[in-house]
Symmetry: C2
Subunit: 358 residues, 2 copies
């Protein structure tokens, strides 16, 4: 019944819905629930060590044998730049004073490690049906290894140029990540956000440029969006923000509350939390220090200086210094379980496709 089955046939799932891997927000439970509904469940691994990945996959495999997507970042780590990091901390100094924090204070910051040989060893043992990458692809030898064991490879393109680059390197499917998308933009051939395309413009241009299945992402929150993605030529969708409101989501209560209250036009791209552009609900630190700051240190270290502020503010019930990742269509979401959400997205999309038949 789906107008384009290329993604379904490639991956062996029933529904053309990918639960977006969201580092810090998704775990085994979300992937299992999505898989049970017939979608492609994803485990975000960028902030997990190999032991934790192994344990989470073990939990998932106990509950479902359906296809699983493991997601990794593949940024090139930059050398530490203490002077820039200190300058950034100085820039945020007023907030430290305000919260009575010593500028020497530290707190655990999100660690985002790129896919490496050790993780590749583990993946060769696990053999997930799908591996998706963000920020391009890993080194050719690592990519060859995961392809050799039979994993389907997916990565995100934020432009036609990136889509072509990914196809040339053997990606089996490509996510066209539009400007509307929440969380980190997968951009890797440019860092200029001013020329990034919206989902509506990006998807058909990527579809025309590559021959592999294209997955639409960015601003897709309900059956209308899924139907529209098919109209534009996509073979599947990747949905993120809607899953943040499921009980399976690991986001903080502050983040969940902010998402529930969000209206349209309240997100922006910001680099203040990590050093790379990512979309979240506008809050105080984004407004005052960004949303895009030329002073923010390189990814992923910018968050280090914010970590003590985040901890102090959250302890007082404030999300002023927290990354509240969200796409532009958060207001369309209603909280429900991840399994129900997956089924509902597919059912509503099918109804919408039928309703607009001329």
């Amino acid at each position: 019944m789906w107008p384009n089955r290329t993604f379904l046939d490639l991956v062996g799932v029933e529904l053309p819905i990918i639960q977006a891997p969201m580092a810090g927000a998704g775990g085994a439970a979300m992937a299992v629930a999505t898989a049970k509904a017939g979608g492609l469940g994803s485990l975000p691994c960028a902030m997990l060590g190999a032991d934790k990945v192994k344990a989470e996959v073990g939990v998932i495999r106990q509950q479902t044998a359906r296809p699983l997507n493991l997601n990794f970042f593949c940024h090139e780590p930059r050398a530490a730049d203490p002077s820039r990091e200190n300058a950034w901390k100085e820039r945020l100094g007023g907030y430290y004073d305000e919260h009575g924090l010593d500028k020497l204070a530290t707190a655990p910051a999100p660690n985002r490690a790129p896919f490496d040989a050790a993780m590749c060893d583990l993946v060769e043992d696990i053999v997930p049906e799908v591996i998706s990458f963000h920020f391009g692809l890993p080194a050719p030898d690592l990519l060859d290894r995961v392809k050799a064991v039979g994993c389907r490879i997916i990565s995100s393109a934020t432009s036609v140029a990136e889509a072509r680059w990914l196809e040339e390197r053997g990606c089996h499917a490509i996510i066209a990540q539009g400007y509307e998308a929440g969380g980190h933009r997968g951009m890797f051939l440019t860092d200029d956000i001013s020329t990034q395309s919206g989902t509506f413009a990006l998807v058909p241009q990527v579809v025309d440029a590559v021959s592999v299945p294209v997955i639409a992402a960015g601003g897709i929150a309900d059956g209308r969006g899924v139907a529209a993605a098919f109209a534009l030529g996509a073979a599947a969708v990747q949905v993120g923000t809607a899953y943040l409101l499921t009980p399976e989501s690991l986001v903080s209560d502050l983040h969940r509350t902010a998402l529930l209250a969000a209206g349209e036009g309240q997100t922006a791209l910001t680099n203040v939390f990590s050093g790379r552009p990512a979309r979240g609900l506008m809050n105080r630190v984004m407004q005052e220090a960004g949303p895009i700051s030329a002073e923010a240190p390189a990814f992923p270290t910018a968050g280090g200086a914010l970590a003590p502020l985040k901890a102090a503010a959250e302890a007082k019930g404030s999300a002023d210094f927290s990354s509240l990742w969200s796409g532009q269509a958060a207001a369309l979401n209603k909280p429900m379980g991840a399994e129900d959400l997956t089924r509902k997205l597919a059912r509503d999309a099918a109804e919408r496709l039928a309703a607009i038949n001329p």
Copy 2:
């Protein structure tokens, strides 16, 4: 056969395609060709005096009795700010030197006047079936007058808040102008471009927020886009960039050539040409002085200082200082006549809607 007829019934056209009014690029011929195909032809009046509007409408009315849209800007003119304008000219001074131009040089700059009582008198004589406004709505007394003679009123919203504002003031239909759109953003309740939504996210949220027909705009270039707009809940589309490549378009050869060569990811929002954010193909002055500059004078005067540079560069075959308005999907367009384009958009949309029927 169209899944949503509310716009067609409101305006009395056959096809749910509005040819976008593009000041400087559209004239009588484009509106006539669109109307003959069954779409809604538009005459952009923001850069025309009343006499010219009257003459152009006369030409149109000789050739078609079908519904016509007259488009006006309704920005609030700011008082002249010579010191800021001089500072902006200083900022551009190096370019003057490069082109051997005296900084006291002047050249005709685009004049964009808001809808006023004199134009309202004329509209009461013409009684166009539709009037569309950009940058909000005119003063209540003027709005009442054009409504009193029976014109259908349309305006652009770049956010849900703007859509609600327009509906409360009696708009009969609302254009949801996504981030992808070329030319000037219609934003009027905010000037913060960082929170502007893409078409994919904006359209369904506006559809949910208002009860009048919603027209999708931004990144719609072919039948796939029209079909996707209906999937998202739109009742019609407004298409701009595709019409820039028609023989009826009044754009310069330089602009046309740049559009034909454009790939994805080559546009940005810029305020350097007018003082308000508008999307165009990235060129030298956008790259070097913008694309968004805090120094650009208020709309519409920023273009004054660029006018001599534009004239000098264009005489040498360079578009370095020309506004090359374009949406994000320019690369999807192929040159054809405006009548053929209108019919093709509708025919391809119908085929696409049928093809994705589950």
